[in-house]
């Protein structure tokens, strides 16, 4: 019993400690590809330390929701980090949230920020909030249908079962259903984490930004919490994608050696996926907001095809 609990603690630690490093890595990859030196791998941690020391501010007329939203984002992300099978599949918390509950928890975080954006009373906050939820609402069908495709072959939507099944039967990973679901979910990961071409994480031009507009009014420790929460969400989504479609290395029994190996493999997977995402961002520009639905509709089609192919080609 002690080691599965240690696995949960290790997993949360790896996710939280690694999240800012992943952000730094992705910026670094981008910088190098664009011919810049880059700020190094510890810059986001230094940013967080600086923000923690600064004075937090709340806009005039805002309510308690504005100040609690960052905490909700962080706590929903921490909850997923503790329950989902990132390092090991033997978490004692595994039964409390399946794939659909994890998706809903991610949406809880986005919703909290969207409400906070409206609560500022600024036009930018409302704009960002409205756009965040537009993208989230349209991504939802793809997420759930692709999840459906994955759970058909296992007969369960439990995340640990999905990962263990894929480890036991690696051939299923190369089935058309899984590949289609992988494409669909990758598009959703890009949309949900606010990366190019859906949203530009580096922009500060008010009229084009989504995530940055929503959190425009945050400062000090509130901003630090939002930034950390968003970074953890990125790790979670990349990590889920990685473990669902490249399940190797996840510990299925809780021994110290396997847990350590699991942590290292997980970090490596997320680092590689993050680098790929960052490298792909160098090659494309942000799309108009009203072209994003086409992208998401396409990903939904992939999801439906994944389900029907899992059925007809099984």
């Amino acid at each position: 019993m002690a080691w599965p609990v240690a696995g949960v603690v290790l997993q949360v630690f790896v996710v939280v400690a690694g999240a800012p490093v992943l952000i730094a890595l992705m910026r670094q990859v981008r910088a190098r590809l664009e011919g810049r030196v880059g700020a190094g791998l510890s810059q986001p941690w230094r940013d967080l330390r600086k923000q923690l020391a600064k004075e937090p501010m709340a806009p005039d007329g805002s309510t308690v929701l504005f100040t609690t939203a960052p905490v909700v984002v962080l706590s929903s992300a921490l909850l997923i980090a503790a329950t989902a099978p990132f390092v090991s599949t033997t978490s004692p918390l595994d039964g409390m949230a399946d794939l659909y509950a994890v998706v809903a928890l991610l949406l809880v975080g986005s919703t909290a920020l969207a409400l906070a954006g409206l609560d500022t009373g600024s036009a930018f906050g409302g704009m960002g909030s409205s756009r965040t939820l537009t993208v989230a609402a349209l991504a939802e069908p793809t997420l759930l249908v692709a999840g459906f495709a994955l759970s058909v072959r296992v007969g369960s939507s439990n995340l640990a079962s999905l990962v263990e099944h894929a480890q036991r039967a690696p051939s299923t990973i190369f089935s058309p259903a899984t590949l289609l679901a992988a494409v669909a979910l990758w598009i959703v990961v890009v949309a949900e984490t606010g990366r190019l071409p859906v949203d530009n994480p580096a922009t500060h031009l008010e009229l084009t930004m989504i995530h940055e507009a929503t959190i425009l009014e945050y400062a000090g420790r509130d901003l630090a919490v939002v930034e950390l929460g968003s970074a953890i969400r990125l790790v979670i989504l990349l990590g889920l994608w990685g473990n669902l479609f490249l399940p190797w290395g996840v510990a299925t029994t809780s021994t110290p050696g396997l847990l350590a190996l699991g942590a290292i493999v997980f970090a490596a997977k997320v680092a590689v996926l993050g680098s790929v995402l960052a490298a792909s961002e160098v090659l494309m520009a942000k799309w108009r907001l009203f072209r994003v639905p086409e992208l998401l509709a396409g990903s939904f089609l992939f999801g439906v095809l994944a389900v029907s192919s899992s059925f007809f080609l099984a």
């Binding site: 918390l93 809903a104 009373g121 069908p141 058909v152 000090g220 009203f290 639905p293 007809f312």
Partner: protein, 688 residues
């Protein structure tokens, strides 16, 4: 006499007292007594319903009560569920209604609330309406059912018309409601009359025994007709048009009763006729139900997403949620028809649990909308804002309701939507014979449910965020004040119900599982096991709403403590919103509900077809200088504007043609009488 009988007696007595109460001279006393009697009706319903859910049955006949028939009441577990549900909603709305009508005294120079809510008719009709709804599911034969159904329709019509003198829209809404509810009644009447004629008896108990022997054509005709009739009561597309008209115009406690209790009786009718009396039926019935449900869910949520009138938004959300419920019912029927009882049980459980959840949060939300309406005289979200500081209790309650309605954890809507999704995704077996219809329908159903859930989140973030947060957008909103204690107690009761359903769903699930036994094609089973975690039986899947809520709370505490510990600990300062380095942003620059929904409205342009109006006024001196720009967007219900005018025009033409029959000539009228008599005699001669 059992507890069920005692409860129903209490209901009837309270309804009778309501008629006496109308003679009281003081409007305030009447309002208080009317609310109290509604509470009594609710209490009776809750007692009778919970006793029936726990398994006690009860029946009574009154031989001479109805002409050509007899009054017959029979209560089983299925009736018990709906009696309980209506009772619980009536209990909360009864308390709430006591405080609703009085004008807020501390606001000067505002429009007094419409006189209608203090009229004798409206006050007497409220307990009567609740009582009629409690009694509908207890009807044991066709005539009793139809009489109670019509009583419910007429009394609710009187309540919808409460404020007809102060606003002309109310009259329009009343006409739509009356027409639609009676069109539905015609369909139900036909269905039940055909059923009882063919089955040779009008008692439900006897129909249940003889109905399986009927030809499949008759059965299907009865089912489709009753689905049309009950579907119109449940607000399913395309018969939903009365809902977004009647709900906003009725007083808010009536809206709560209609939207949280009455629409559920449409579901009761479909379950009673389809699963109980006809015993399940073929698969295509339920695929039809599923399709209509999915369309209703999507159309309802799209209209709700685009709506700016808070109560209209809630009315469309009712169509959405009933749509989700019918998706569950349809899928359950589909699997029951092919003998997959585990899945059918799970899906039916999800549907009835969502019915209970919807009743809880919709009561709460309509009461919240009523509280806002009473304080600000506003229904338009675009003019609200900043209510969180002025009406903190109402805001907290509406927040709980909105969380539940958006289907997010830790709200109660999430639990039933999760169960529904679990049922749908396990519809494709890991191995087994492929079934093409299921393989095509179920993924699309999951997509529809997911899109509904996603848009539902956007809808309720809009409603709550624009309506209650940030700064007020109008003088009325700025002058809002908290509502009186009774209204808060009513809302608190509904909020506590939402909380219990969200954190401890297993207790209601245990009670609801027993309802499945009433439906022979599903049978008595327990689709969900576990104590803290909901574990599906026969299917691998589990989720724990309680642990998720605790985890979220624990994570929040941990994050706060750690950040406080690491941070500088400087207090939070209130500052002006960033105005791009220049002007101070005025509240008018905030995002409005229309603006908030604009991207999604544009994405779903093909369905919603919003009408835009841009008026540009120039200065007289120069056409190049703009004095003001007015922008107006209106999203009308396209189904209503496209589907109904031709129907109404046709009805009008028939009416005009019928006028030729009546030209004032006495001779012609006498001839009609003679021809009619001859025809009847000939018909008798041929058939006898």
């Amino acid at each position: 006499m059992t507890l069920v009988g005692a409860g129903l007696l209490l209901v009837s007595c309270a309804a009778g007292l309501a008629l006496l109460m109308a003679m009281a001279p003081s409007a305030r006393t009447r309002g208080f007594v009317s609310g109290a009697l509604t509470c009594l009706v609710g209490l009776g319903g809750v007692l009778a319903g919970s006793a029936a859910l726990l398994g006690s049955t009860w029946s009574a006949t009154a031989t001479h009560l109805l002409p050509l028939s007899q009054g017959e009441l029979t209560v089983d577990r299925l009736s018990g569920l709906f009696v309980f549900l209506v009772g619980a909603v009536a209990l909360a709305t009864g308390v709430y209604s006591m405080g609703y009508p009085q004008a807020p005294r501390h606001v000067e120079g505002m429009v007094q609330p419409a006189h209608g809510t203090t009229s004798r008719t409206a006050q007497a009709a409220l307990p009567l309406f609740a009582a009629a709804m409690v009694l509908v599911p207890t009807a044991g034969n066709v005539t009793t059912f139809l009489v109670l159904w019509e009583l419910m329709a007429l009394v609710s019509l009187a309540l919808v018309l409460t404020e007809h003198r102060s606003r002309p829209e109310v009259g329009q809404a009343g006409i739509w409601y009356a027409a639609m509810t009676h069109a539905g009644l015609v369909a139900i009447l036909l269905a039940l009359v055909i059923l009882s004629t063919e089955a040779g008896s009008e008692s439900f108990a006897e129909i249940r025994d003889t109905a399986p022997a009927l030809s499949s054509g008759t059965q299907s005709l009865v089912f489709v007709l009753s689905f049309v009739g009950f579907g119109s009561k449940a607000g399913l597309v395309p018969l939903h048009v009365w809902l977004p008209r009647a709900h906003p115009e009725a007083p808010s406690y009536v809206s709560a009763l209609m939207s949280a209790a009455m629409v559920n009786l449409g579901l009761y009718g479909v379950l009673r006729v389809g699963f109980d009396l006809l015993g399940g039926g073929p698969r295509w019935w339920w695929l039809l139900v599923l399709g209509v449900g999915a369309l209703s869910a999507l159309y309802g949520v799209l209209q709700a997403m685009a709506a700016t009138d808070l109560k209209r938004l809630l009315a469309y959300s009712t169509t959405e949620n009933l749509g989700l419920i019918f998706v569950g019912v349809g899928a359950a029927g589909t699997f029951a028809a092919t003998g997959q009882r585990t899945l059918a049980g799970l899906l039916m459980l999800a549907a009835v649990l969502h019915t209970v959840n919807h009743a809880a949060f919709k009561t709460l939300l309509f009461m919240g909308a009523g509280a806002v309406l009473r304080s600000t005289h506003l229904r338009d979200l675009d003019a609200m804002g900043g209510l969180a500081r002025r009406m903190p209790f109402t805001t907290a309650f509406v927040g709980i309701g909105a969380l539940a309605a958006s289907g997010l954890p830790p709200g109660n809507g999430f639990v039933s939507e999760w169960l529904l999704l679990q049922g749908l995704i396990h519809s494709l077996p890991v191995s087994g014979t492929p079934d093409v219809a299921v393989a095509i329908v179920m993924p699309l159903a999951v997509g529809a449910v997911a899109l509904t859930a996603g848009l539902g989140v956007a809808t309720f973030v809009k409603a709550f965020g624009v309506g209650f947060l940030a700064r007020p957008r109008s003088a009325e909103a700025a002058a809002a004040a908290e509502v009186p204690g009774t209204m808060r107690v009513g809302m608190a009761a509904a909020a506590v119900a939402c909380g219990l359903l969200a954190l401890a769903p297993l207790a209601p699930v245990r009670a609801l599982e027993s309802v499945l036994g009433v439906m022979p094609s599903i049978g008595d089973r327990r689709p969900v096991q576990g104590a803290v975690e909901l574990r599906l039986s026969g299917i691998t899947g589990s989720m724990s709403p309680l642990l998720i809520a605790l985890g979220l709370a624990g994570g929040a505490v941990l994050a706060t403590v750690v950040v406080r510990g690491l941070g500088s600990g400087r207090p939070r300062r209130t500052a002006l919103v960033w105005g791009c380095g220049g002007t101070r942003l005025s509240p008018r620059m905030q995002y409005t509900a229309t603006a908030y929904a604009e991207p999604l409205t544009r994405v779903f342009d093909d369905v919603l077809r919003p009408e835009h109006d841009v008026d540009v006024t120039h200065y007289q001196e120069s056409r190049y200088l703009v004095e003001s720009v007015r922008y107006r967007q209106r999203v009308s219900d396209r189904l209503e504007t496209r589907l109904y005018p031709p129907l109404l025009a046709a009805a009008n033409r028939w009416g005009q043609m019928a006028r030729r029959l009546q030209d004032g000539s006495v001779h012609r009228y006498l001839a009609y009488g003679l021809v009619g008599l001859l025809l009847v005699l000939m018909a008798l001669g041929v058939t006898a």
